[in-house]
Amino acid sequence: MPLVYFLVVAALIYSAHKATRVKGLLNAALWLAGTSCLTSILVYILGSPGLAVIELSVGAGLVTVLFVFAISIIGDEKITSDVFVPHWLAISISVVSFGMLAYLLIAQHMPSVQSETTSPIFSDLFWEGRKIDIYLQGALFISGILGILLLIAPAVSKRIKEGKNK
Protein backbone atom coordinates (compact mmCIF):
# COMPACT_ATOMS: atom_id res chain seq x y z
CA MET A 1 0.00 0.00 0.00
CA PRO A 2 2.70 2.57 0.76
CA LEU A 3 4.29 1.66 -2.59
CA VAL A 4 1.20 2.90 -4.45
CA TYR A 5 1.29 6.15 -2.48
CA PHE A 6 4.98 6.54 -3.18
CA LEU A 7 4.59 6.02 -6.92
CA VAL A 8 1.65 8.38 -7.22
CA VAL A 9 3.33 11.12 -5.18
CA ALA A 10 6.58 10.82 -7.13
CA ALA A 11 4.78 10.98 -10.46
CA LEU A 12 2.70 13.92 -9.23
CA ILE A 13 5.72 15.96 -8.24
CA TYR A 14 7.48 15.13 -11.52
CA SER A 15 4.57 16.11 -13.70
CA ALA A 16 3.97 19.34 -11.77
CA HIS A 17 7.63 20.22 -12.23
CA LYS A 18 7.44 19.52 -15.95
CA ALA A 19 4.23 21.53 -16.28
CA THR A 20 5.95 24.67 -15.10
CA ARG A 21 9.39 24.26 -16.57
CA VAL A 22 8.80 22.84 -20.02
CA LYS A 23 9.24 25.09 -23.05
CA GLY A 24 6.19 25.62 -25.18
CA LEU A 25 2.77 26.43 -23.84
CA LEU A 26 0.94 23.50 -25.42
CA ASN A 27 3.27 21.04 -23.72
CA ALA A 28 2.69 22.82 -20.42
CA ALA A 29 -1.07 22.43 -20.84
CA LEU A 30 -0.68 18.72 -21.49
CA TRP A 31 1.50 18.18 -18.46
CA LEU A 32 -1.11 20.11 -16.43
CA ALA A 33 -3.71 17.59 -17.59
CA GLY A 34 -1.43 14.82 -16.43
CA THR A 35 -1.09 16.53 -13.04
CA SER A 36 -4.85 16.66 -12.75
CA CYS A 37 -5.14 12.94 -13.43
CA LEU A 38 -2.53 12.10 -10.83
CA THR A 39 -4.14 14.27 -8.16
CA SER A 40 -7.43 12.62 -8.94
CA ILE A 41 -5.87 9.21 -8.31
CA LEU A 42 -4.29 10.48 -5.08
CA VAL A 43 -7.62 11.86 -3.86
CA TYR A 44 -9.28 8.53 -4.69
CA ILE A 45 -6.87 6.47 -2.67
CA LEU A 46 -7.14 8.94 0.20
CA GLY A 47 -10.78 7.98 0.44
CA SER A 48 -12.96 10.39 -1.51
CA PRO A 49 -14.19 8.90 -4.81
CA GLY A 50 -16.76 11.58 -5.61
CA LEU A 51 -14.21 14.29 -5.51
CA ALA A 52 -11.83 12.28 -7.66
CA VAL A 53 -14.39 12.11 -10.44
CA ILE A 54 -15.10 15.82 -10.22
CA GLU A 55 -11.41 16.66 -10.30
CA LEU A 56 -10.83 14.43 -13.28
CA SER A 57 -13.67 15.86 -15.33
CA VAL A 58 -13.00 19.49 -14.45
CA GLY A 59 -9.23 19.54 -14.25
CA ALA A 60 -8.30 17.16 -17.02
CA GLY A 61 -11.32 18.03 -19.09
CA LEU A 62 -12.65 21.55 -18.88
CA VAL A 63 -9.54 23.46 -17.92
CA THR A 64 -7.33 21.65 -20.43
CA VAL A 65 -9.76 22.29 -23.26
CA LEU A 66 -9.94 25.95 -22.35
CA PHE A 67 -6.17 26.16 -22.21
CA VAL A 68 -5.74 24.63 -25.62
CA PHE A 69 -8.37 26.96 -26.99
CA ALA A 70 -6.68 30.02 -25.55
CA ILE A 71 -3.24 28.91 -26.70
CA SER A 72 -4.49 28.43 -30.23
CA ILE A 73 -5.74 31.98 -30.24
CA ILE A 74 -2.69 33.51 -28.62
CA GLY A 75 0.16 31.51 -30.00
CA ASP A 76 3.63 31.09 -28.55
CA GLU A 77 6.20 33.81 -28.25
CA LYS A 78 9.49 34.61 -26.55
CA ILE A 79 9.47 36.98 -23.63
CA THR A 80 12.27 39.52 -23.73
CA SER A 81 11.85 41.70 -20.64
CA ASP A 82 14.26 41.53 -17.74
CA VAL A 83 14.07 39.18 -14.80
CA PHE A 84 13.38 40.69 -11.40
CA VAL A 85 14.30 37.83 -9.15
CA PRO A 86 17.29 35.65 -10.17
CA HIS A 87 16.76 31.90 -10.42
CA TRP A 88 18.92 30.86 -7.52
CA LEU A 89 17.12 33.24 -5.16
CA ALA A 90 13.73 31.97 -6.24
CA ILE A 91 14.65 28.33 -5.78
CA SER A 92 16.27 28.92 -2.40
CA ILE A 93 13.38 30.92 -1.02
CA SER A 94 10.78 28.40 -2.14
CA VAL A 95 12.76 25.52 -0.72
CA VAL A 96 13.46 27.27 2.57
CA SER A 97 9.94 28.46 3.25
CA PHE A 98 8.14 25.32 2.28
CA GLY A 99 10.76 23.11 3.81
CA MET A 100 10.04 24.82 7.11
CA LEU A 101 6.32 24.36 6.56
CA ALA A 102 6.79 20.66 5.82
CA TYR A 103 8.94 20.25 8.90
CA LEU A 104 6.29 21.89 11.08
CA LEU A 105 3.54 19.73 9.64
CA ILE A 106 5.37 16.43 9.78
CA ALA A 107 6.77 16.90 13.25
CA GLN A 108 3.27 17.76 14.50
CA HIS A 109 4.24 21.20 15.70
CA MET A 110 1.27 22.88 14.06
CA PRO A 111 -1.61 23.83 16.36
CA SER A 112 -4.31 21.22 15.88
CA VAL A 113 -8.08 21.39 15.98
CA GLN A 114 -10.18 18.78 17.76
CA SER A 115 -13.35 17.56 16.09
CA GLU A 116 -16.43 17.28 18.29
CA THR A 117 -19.37 17.02 15.93
CA THR A 118 -20.70 13.77 14.46
CA SER A 119 -20.44 13.53 10.71
CA PRO A 120 -23.67 13.49 8.70
CA ILE A 121 -24.32 11.85 5.36
CA PHE A 122 -22.47 13.50 2.51
CA SER A 123 -25.36 14.21 0.20
CA ASP A 124 -27.36 15.66 3.06
CA LEU A 125 -24.52 17.94 4.04
CA PHE A 126 -23.80 18.92 0.47
CA TRP A 127 -27.21 19.80 -0.82
CA GLU A 128 -28.96 20.90 2.39
CA GLY A 129 -26.32 22.18 4.74
CA ARG A 130 -24.31 24.12 2.18
CA LYS A 131 -27.25 24.86 -0.05
CA ILE A 132 -26.72 28.57 -0.51
CA ASP A 133 -23.04 28.05 -1.14
CA ILE A 134 -23.65 25.45 -3.84
CA TYR A 135 -26.32 27.41 -5.64
CA LEU A 136 -24.12 30.48 -5.57
CA GLN A 137 -21.23 28.54 -7.03
CA GLY A 138 -23.42 27.15 -9.78
CA ALA A 139 -24.67 30.59 -10.69
CA LEU A 140 -21.13 31.97 -10.60
CA PHE A 141 -19.90 29.19 -12.84
CA ILE A 142 -22.54 29.68 -15.48
CA SER A 143 -22.32 33.46 -15.48
CA GLY A 144 -18.54 33.22 -15.63
CA ILE A 145 -18.62 31.00 -18.70
CA LEU A 146 -21.17 33.19 -20.45
CA GLY A 147 -19.24 36.34 -19.59
CA ILE A 148 -16.04 34.89 -20.92
CA LEU A 149 -17.66 33.88 -24.16
CA LEU A 150 -18.89 37.44 -24.58
CA LEU A 151 -15.48 38.81 -23.69
CA ILE A 152 -13.49 36.82 -26.16
CA ALA A 153 -16.00 36.83 -28.97
CA PRO A 154 -14.42 39.72 -30.91
CA ALA A 155 -10.96 38.15 -30.67
CA VAL A 156 -12.22 34.78 -31.83
CA SER A 157 -14.19 36.23 -34.72
CA LYS A 158 -11.16 38.24 -35.79
CA ARG A 159 -9.03 35.11 -35.84
CA ILE A 160 -11.64 33.25 -37.80
CA LYS A 161 -11.78 36.06 -40.35
CA GLU A 162 -8.00 36.09 -40.63
CA GLY A 163 -8.03 32.37 -41.10
CA LYS A 164 -10.62 32.73 -43.87
CA ASN A 165 -8.73 35.51 -45.60
CA LYS A 166 -5.56 33.45 -45.65
Binding site: V9, A16, I74, G144, L151
Partner: protein, 99 residues
Protein backbone atom coordinates in the same frame (compact mmCIF):
# COMPACT_ATOMS: atom_id res chain seq x y z
CA UNK B 1 1.95 7.52 4.25
CA UNK B 2 0.53 10.72 5.64
CA UNK B 3 4.07 12.01 5.56
CA UNK B 4 4.27 11.25 1.86
CA UNK B 5 1.06 13.09 1.15
CA UNK B 6 2.28 16.06 3.17
CA UNK B 7 5.46 16.07 1.11
CA UNK B 8 3.36 16.01 -2.07
CA UNK B 9 1.23 18.93 -0.88
CA UNK B 10 4.15 21.07 0.13
CA UNK B 11 6.04 20.30 -3.10
CA UNK B 12 3.08 21.22 -5.26
CA UNK B 13 2.65 24.53 -3.44
CA UNK B 14 6.38 25.21 -3.62
CA UNK B 15 6.50 24.46 -7.34
CA UNK B 16 3.52 26.72 -7.92
CA UNK B 17 5.09 29.62 -6.02
CA UNK B 18 8.47 29.09 -7.68
CA UNK B 19 6.88 29.31 -11.09
CA UNK B 20 5.00 32.46 -10.03
CA UNK B 21 8.25 34.12 -9.04
CA UNK B 22 10.09 33.13 -12.24
CA UNK B 23 7.68 33.48 -15.09
CA UNK B 24 6.72 36.50 -17.11
CA UNK B 25 4.30 34.90 -19.53
CA UNK B 26 0.73 35.32 -18.45
CA UNK B 27 -0.40 31.86 -19.51
CA UNK B 28 2.34 30.26 -17.45
CA UNK B 29 1.03 32.21 -14.47
CA UNK B 30 -2.33 30.53 -14.86
CA UNK B 31 -0.66 27.11 -15.08
CA UNK B 32 1.22 27.89 -11.86
CA UNK B 33 -1.99 28.94 -10.12
CA UNK B 34 -3.65 25.68 -11.13
CA UNK B 35 -0.79 23.61 -9.69
CA UNK B 36 -0.93 25.68 -6.49
CA UNK B 37 -4.63 25.14 -5.99
CA UNK B 38 -4.36 21.41 -6.64
CA UNK B 39 -1.93 21.24 -3.75
CA UNK B 40 -4.38 23.11 -1.54
CA UNK B 41 -7.18 20.75 -2.51
CA UNK B 42 -5.21 17.66 -1.62
CA UNK B 43 -4.42 19.32 1.73
CA UNK B 44 -8.12 19.75 2.38
CA UNK B 45 -8.82 16.10 1.65
CA UNK B 46 -5.96 14.98 3.86
CA UNK B 47 -7.31 17.14 6.68
CA UNK B 48 -10.70 15.51 6.23
CA UNK B 49 -9.19 12.09 6.45
CA UNK B 50 -7.16 12.89 9.53
CA UNK B 51 -10.02 14.39 11.53
CA UNK B 52 -12.55 11.87 10.24
CA UNK B 53 -14.88 14.50 8.77
CA UNK B 54 -14.63 13.47 5.14
CA UNK B 55 -18.05 14.86 4.11
CA UNK B 56 -17.33 18.38 5.24
CA UNK B 57 -13.90 18.26 3.66
CA UNK B 58 -15.36 17.03 0.38
CA UNK B 59 -17.84 19.89 0.17
CA UNK B 60 -15.12 22.41 0.92
CA UNK B 61 -12.91 20.81 -1.73
CA UNK B 62 -15.69 21.08 -4.29
CA UNK B 63 -15.88 24.77 -3.50
CA UNK B 64 -12.14 25.00 -4.05
CA UNK B 65 -12.38 23.30 -7.44
CA UNK B 66 -15.18 25.60 -8.54
CA UNK B 67 -13.32 28.71 -7.46
CA UNK B 68 -10.11 27.62 -9.11
CA UNK B 69 -11.88 26.75 -12.36
CA UNK B 70 -13.53 30.14 -12.48
CA UNK B 71 -10.16 31.78 -11.88
CA UNK B 72 -8.68 29.79 -14.76
CA UNK B 73 -11.53 30.68 -17.10
CA UNK B 74 -11.47 34.37 -16.37
CA UNK B 75 -7.69 34.44 -16.38
CA UNK B 76 -7.56 32.87 -19.82
CA UNK B 77 -10.08 35.36 -21.17
CA UNK B 78 -8.12 38.26 -19.73
CA UNK B 79 -4.91 36.95 -21.22
CA UNK B 80 -6.57 36.83 -24.63
CA UNK B 81 -7.63 40.44 -24.13
CA UNK B 82 -4.12 41.39 -23.05
CA UNK B 83 -2.73 39.86 -26.20
CA UNK B 84 -5.26 41.68 -28.34
CA UNK B 85 -4.70 45.07 -26.77
CA UNK B 86 -0.95 45.16 -26.31
CA UNK B 87 0.24 42.55 -28.78
CA UNK B 88 2.41 40.73 -26.25
CA UNK B 89 2.00 38.22 -23.45
CA UNK B 90 4.50 39.89 -21.16
CA UNK B 91 3.13 41.00 -17.80
CA UNK B 92 5.73 43.73 -17.42
CA UNK B 93 4.40 45.53 -20.47
CA UNK B 94 1.20 46.62 -18.72
CA UNK B 95 2.81 47.82 -15.51
CA UNK B 96 3.00 51.62 -15.53
CA UNK B 97 4.82 52.32 -12.25
CA UNK B 98 7.97 54.40 -12.63
CA UNK B 99 10.98 52.25 -11.99
Amino acid sequence: MNTLVIIAIVSLIAIGFYCLIITRNILKIIVALQVLVKGAMIAMILAGKLTDQMELAQSMAITIIVADTIVAVIGLAMSIQLREKTGTCDIHSISKLKR
